[in-house]
């Protein structure tokens, strides 16, 4: 069978998937650059389509978000509009990556609504907020003191704010956004902001691009080697679900509420987590989250585990959540021994899209 990947030339996601195809004895997939799709240039699709992340390419980023410093925070609304227009051009082709699923996964509000409607555990959400004042008013109405404020179309924790408020006006935010001049930029570490004007300014800067606000779900902690009992780091799980089966999982730990690796998060001990939580139930939650996106061969589910290790919530479902190079599949699954890309190639061979 033939596969065509929409991606960015030179991106390692493209190379990793091509390597999995070779291992399975398939021909090297053809590549349609995202740039051509976004610029409206003609392209041809040979066989079945796989949609990959546009990646880190500066030119593609500029096409999606408009010109400007690629490290800036914001621009999500324009990014999403352009991205969806690009996705529309892919609609005519048989695909293992459903474009409507992808569009929903890149709108945190829509994805949350879909999961909630399906009975998948998610933190409760606040509904639209147009700015900081409205956010605080809505939080007060609901009696919420701690929330996560997420740009509706962001990724990699860009612009995410972990916000806490207390009686008497105290407010504290942790975010990787850092102010430089009159703009906000993605930094490589999470900082604390504890003056209200600063926090309000960040929220107000992000709000025009759309915000999704969830009540803070208190995450469980994990002992860390060399750290005394009772301290530890918070953790969550990235679980890759391929064709309905949770096949790969990593534990991500951090001393701050965001566990992303580029923000100082670290891989945690999966065996310890498996022993500490009801694992089958956790995997069932991930499978149910994935089943909300039935046209997608693969999704990456971010699973939160509550402080008591017994409650779960899905924080996000990622259309391109499979970039876990070299990670072996979970024992006892059909992907045992292979990486996330091997699992997807095998799934495509079992049930080619449009067949």
């Amino acid at each position: 069978m033939r596969l065509t990947v929409v991606g960015t030339p030179g991106d390692r996601r493209v190379a990793l998937f091509a390597a999995a195809c070779r291992r399975a004895g398939l021909a090297e997939p053809a590549l349609v650059p995202w740039r051509d799709v976004l610029l409206g240039r003609p392209f041809t699709v040979d066989g079945t389509l796989r949609v990959e992340s546009p990646g880190e390419d500066a030119e593609v980023n500029a096409l999606l978000r408009g010109p400007g410093d690629p490290a800036r925070v914001g621009g999500g609304a324009r990014w999403y509009r352009t991205f969806r227009a690009g996705l529309e051009r892919l609609r005519p082709y048989p695909s293992v990556s459903d474009i409507d699923d992808i569009a929903v996964m890149f709108d945190k509000r829509a994805a949350h609504a879909r999961l909630l409607a399906a009975g998948v555990p998610v933190p409760p959400a606040l509904g639209p907020v147009a700015g900081y004042a409205r956010l605080r008013a809505r939080m007060a109405e609901r009696g919420w003191h701690r929330v996560f404020v997420k740009p509706a179309h962001g990724s990699s924790a860009s612009g995410v704010i972990a916000l806490r408020t207390a009686q008497g006006g105290a407010v504290r935010a942790q975010t990787s956004a850092a102010r430089e001049g009159d703009g906000w930029y993605n930094a490589l570490r999470v900082r604390t902001l504890d003056t209200e004007p600063e926090i309000a300014s960040l929220v107000d800067a992000l709000a025009p691009d759309g915000l999704h606000v969830e009540r803070w779900f208190a995450k469980a902690g994990l002992a860390q080697e060399g750290v005394r009992d009772g301290v530890g780091r918070v953790f969550d799980l990235r679980v890759v679900v391929v064709a309905g089966e949770p096949t790969h999982a990593v534990v991500r730990t951090a001393a701050v509420p965001m566990t992303n690796l580029h923000l100082g998060g670290r891989r945690g001990d999966l065996a310890a987590v498996r022993a500490a939580i009801p694992w089958a139930e956790a995997m069932d939650v991930c499978a149910r989250a994935a089943s909300c996106f039935p046209g997608s061969t693969m999704v990456g589910v971010d699973l939160l585990v509550g402080v008591g290790m017994r409650r779960f919530a899905v924080a996000e479902v990622n259309a391109f959540g499979d970039l876990l190079p070299g990670l072996a599949g979970l024992p006892g699954t059909s992907a045992e021994g292979g990486d996330t890309y091997d699992a997807q190639v095998a799934a495509v061979l079992r049930a080619p899209a449009g067949a």
């Binding site: 009696g143 003191h145 701690r146 530890g232 918070v234 509420p257």
Partner: protein, 310 residues
Amino acid sequence: MIHQFHTSFAGLPVFDLTDTTAAGELPAADAVAWRIRLDDYVDEFDPWRELFGTFTERVDTTRVRALLLGNWGNTYDVESTEPLALLTGAAERFPALHAVFVAEYLQEETEISWINHGDLTPLFTAFPKLTEVVVRGGIGLRFDPLKSTVLRDLRFESGGLPARVVQALGASELPALETLQLWLGVDEYGGDSTVEDLAPLLSGERLPALRDLGLQNSPQADQIAAAVAAAPVVARLERLSLAMGSLSDEGAEALLSGQPLTHLAGLDLHHHYLSDAMMERIKAALPGVQVNVDDQRDLEDDWRYVEVSE
């Protein structure tokens, strides 16, 4: 940051008593330390009151030895005095209680600097047999000087411990106290004690049994080190901790040039601003002492952080 519940307390494994587990099979009353906590965000205190009621109905409280008071609602509206009042009001039903952990909240549940306390005195008067007490959070915390011949282990974890707490401890009579750990914290979160406030503790006059002293999590770690270097209490210690704070070469120099420390079993300095050379010097000067100099902080940073403040 505090991200993990204790798995044991007062020598007992912790049993997590929540709405869910309270309905299931429970261990023997004296086999575990009982953590009573709500497993969700709740504003008001009533659900915890109900859970405590279930606990006292289902468990033979006369054999309960250790309690951890966990998430009882939002900590800025509900002071620790509320769960404590329930407990002290039922004191005659807990004749075996000897260990209490007040406010085992995790960072993900509430800020340590936002846990509101009040007068802790009733806990000590209602339970004169307490041997171990841990309190997390410092805001609003106060108590009269303590008097106990059995209290062995005291720990105050905070991002800012009020000076009046340090002073009350200095004026306490605790002849059996073996372990005292204070996370002193920073001024902006209520940690307004000075090195002078520590003097009665450092003299050791009222602490004849002290073996383990921690003056931790302080931005004044260098001054504390200098005071410790000449403190009479040090001769009787087995373990000393100046960890979690801002200790730099200046404080370490004072420590090394003071009284001998070679009798210690352990010296904990983790989370510090010591140079590599000073870390080596300390280890070389204290052979046979287990020295912990983990978690060296960024010496180039203009600001010196303590480990736990917010």
